[in-house]
Amino acid sequence: MVDATHGAVDVIPPAEVPEVELYHPHSWWTKYVFSQDAKVIAIQYSGTAIAIGMVALVLSWLMRLQLGFPGTFDFITPEAYYQFITMHGMIMVIYLLTALFLGGFGNYLIPLMVGARDMAFPYVNMLSYWIYLVAVLVLVASFFAPGGPTGAGWTLYPPQAILGGTPGGQQAGIILMLVSLILFIIGFTMGGLNYVVTVLQGRTRGMTLMRLPLTVWGIFTATVMALLAFPALFVASVMMLFDRVLGTSFFMPALVEMGEQLSYGGGSPILFQHLFWFFGHPEVYIVALPAFGIVSDLISTHARKNIFGYRMMVWAIIIIGALSFIVWAHHMYVSGMHPYFGFFFATTTLIIAVPTAIKVYNWVLTLWRGDIHLTLPMLFALAFIVTFVNGGLTGLFLGNVVVDVPLSDTMFVVAHFHMVMGVAPIMVIFGAIYHWYPKITGRMMNEAMGQFHFWITFVGAYAIFFPMHYVGLVGVPRRYPEIGEPAFITAPVENLNAFISVAALVVGFAQLVFLFNLIWSIWYGREAGGNPWRATTLEWQTSETPPPHGNFGKELPIVYRWAYDYSVPGAKEDFIAQNDPGTGKTATGLA
């Protein structure tokens, strides 16, 4: 074993990365509003994403009110219910999770963690946020458009998405939705270029790819995937917009509506499904990979132990990223595809469980005999592991064609994907916010409020989604505002539905405590200092907290080691920062 803390560096090679010219803001506007500083953009992204996410949260309450107590609320018509599920799904998946992980955490963490002053193209980065904001505003506008937002379901399947029978189908709703998606993708591409190129070109001296924190690996790979997957949604959106506005028949078969032959003919709804899921499945991992990366860092830091199998973790991220492009049709088992086709996609789907399982083992083995501190980030990280395993296991059920066919379009599927790509990534987002908040604001978030938030959210999420699996197994279909009284619906199912709804309301209100904590702690939180978690990565080693424009002081940091030197035997402290040369400061009593 090489002595990790020892060894002086005689010659420091010259910088490979030239100093960039930073844009220096001259006014309040360019400093805080039209800012080109990735950290400000990150906060703008996060704020917008959380704000629109709250809208989606309220929509989920309304849906649960209807499902738990059907017939009680007059204003929730079937049309309104469809609009709620559509907007809830679309907002949560794209405008909250994608934007928050990549636009929020990506912007904040990538430059700081790789040791760069800012993103590669700050101006384009700024444009990215503003286009995202316009996309969100267009989306919100559809709530106020005549006929309301689209009610086509978040998958927007044609032909129903653009027909009169669907809310917003023949009104502005679907058009605004598609335009908003197109704008989002344009804006995201601008941001995504920055995240990728900054990791490629902006790394400081000594920061090899294999010394990157796993957070950066996760966000980097997810961004590459997003850049290649979002065009599919772009193409699908443009083509559907053509169908809806210009009367083409890309996706629209010949149809009779209300006794009237429509001008469409010959198109293929399945074509849309292929394009949509070619984006849709990578999207799951676009959300999951940053979560994987962040959770690895949280666990390592708060268990004071190096990550188990770093290399394997990196390889697994890359393999998951690549495999996720050839599993899309497992969302289409019931579309009448060729059985061999289904066989192929079932196989690839199950293979993807292998690298994912490697990651889970490595998290658990990192915890093994670690010095586990049950801080708020750690609690959320642990909750993530448990939830992700639960959600992943039902994924194995649904990945098999024969099991999927009867379960397709039941609440079981809803429970599955909420566990695996709803609750699990949200847990990581919370953990990450509690973890990096001290760096962003200089103050800790309130512990008591945080504990309250954690336990309600964690237990509550299980109270919501565990019973939902059962409800689905019994046969309750998804997307039905009311199921009436068919024979298979027994009293327990009705009671469970009411129980789930109450739990959902409670969990929702717990999020308000989190929001309050988020704002309250800016002024009243405990002073954090520069490195409250005693973490190794570069963002904790900045000279000032919060880091100034340009991130680091006069000199960029130089990286001497990987990101996980925790509890190194013989070291003075239980962590060695990445930019610690291993001489002088820690040399006393060693060697």
Binding site: D10, G206, M210, P231, F242, F250, G266, G267, V314, G582
Partner: protein, 235 residues
């Protein structure tokens, strides 16, 4: 979806080749001490803007590969009626080739430091690109005048949509080109900077020319013939 899968396979190949040079087999937990402290970070020597453009072109390529995928899948349905290829498209293709050649000349001139030739190349490139766009509009007008409307048949819809998307990308390139041209005349003329912008413009132009060839082959139906031949060879 075969076109996009082939495209992604190429991207994966490039990414895999690049990753294989990044020391993925290294053991960072053992790298300490003077010898190991500064392994090559492998930040490429390429200008950041070029890497950025390269990544962007991959995204654009992905977009058109997806359009092609959708095209082939829609083509197999029974209502497909191919539309005739207007001869004017050949002329437009020639003009776009000229545009690319002019920008390539500008690159060569920029390397030699001949600012007059750079200006000439840039302006010629810009004007020919505008001529290409005008030619495309004429093609659209001719087609609709002879009854090939956008919504009449999916083949027509794809024709207008894909050529339109390609035209929009040229239009975006023209904005960048206009900035480069103003840089070539501007008071704060910096040879290094200008050379890089000219190179970036040329790179984008060549790529869009390549995309145009692919689009042309696709819309003219040769791509489908080619795939049919491949299929027959395989079965």
């Amino acid at each position: 979806m075969s076109v996009i899968l082939v495209f992604l396979l190429v991207i994966a190949g490039i990414a895999g080749w690049w990753l294989s040079h990044q020391g993925l087999m290294s053991k960072p937990w053992l790298e300490h001490g003077p010898a190991a402290a500064f392994p090559d970070t492998d930040v490429t020597g390429m200008p950041t803007a070029k890497v950025g453009l390269g990544v962007f072109l991959a995204v654009v390529g992905c977009l058109f590969a997806l359009f092609a995928s959708a095209y082939f899948m829609r083509m197999e349905l029974s209502d497909w009626q191919p539309l005739p290829i207007p001869p004017l498209l050949w002329l437009n293709t020639g003009v776009l080739v000229l545009s690319s050649v002019a920008l390539q000349c500008a690159v060569i001139a920029a390397h030699r430091g001949q600012i007059d030739m750079v200006r000439l190349g840039l302006v010629t490139g810009g004007l020919t690109a505008l001529a290409f766009l005008a030619g495309q509009l004429v093609v659209w007008r001719d087609l609709s005048a002879s009854g090939y409307f956008l919504e009449a048949n999916p083949a027509n819809s794809f024709f207008y949509m894909i050529t339109g998307m390609h035209g929009l990308h040229i239009l975006g390139g023209l904005v960048a080109l206009a900035r480069t041209i103003s840089g070539a005349w501007g008071r704060r003329y910096q040879p290094e900077r200008l050379r890089l912008s000219v190179e970036l413009c040329a790179m984008y132009w060549h790529f869009l020319l390549f995309v145009w060839f692919a689009v042309f082959v696709l819309l003219a139906g040769w791509a489908a013939d080619f795939i049919d031949i491949c299929r027959q060879l395989l079965t």
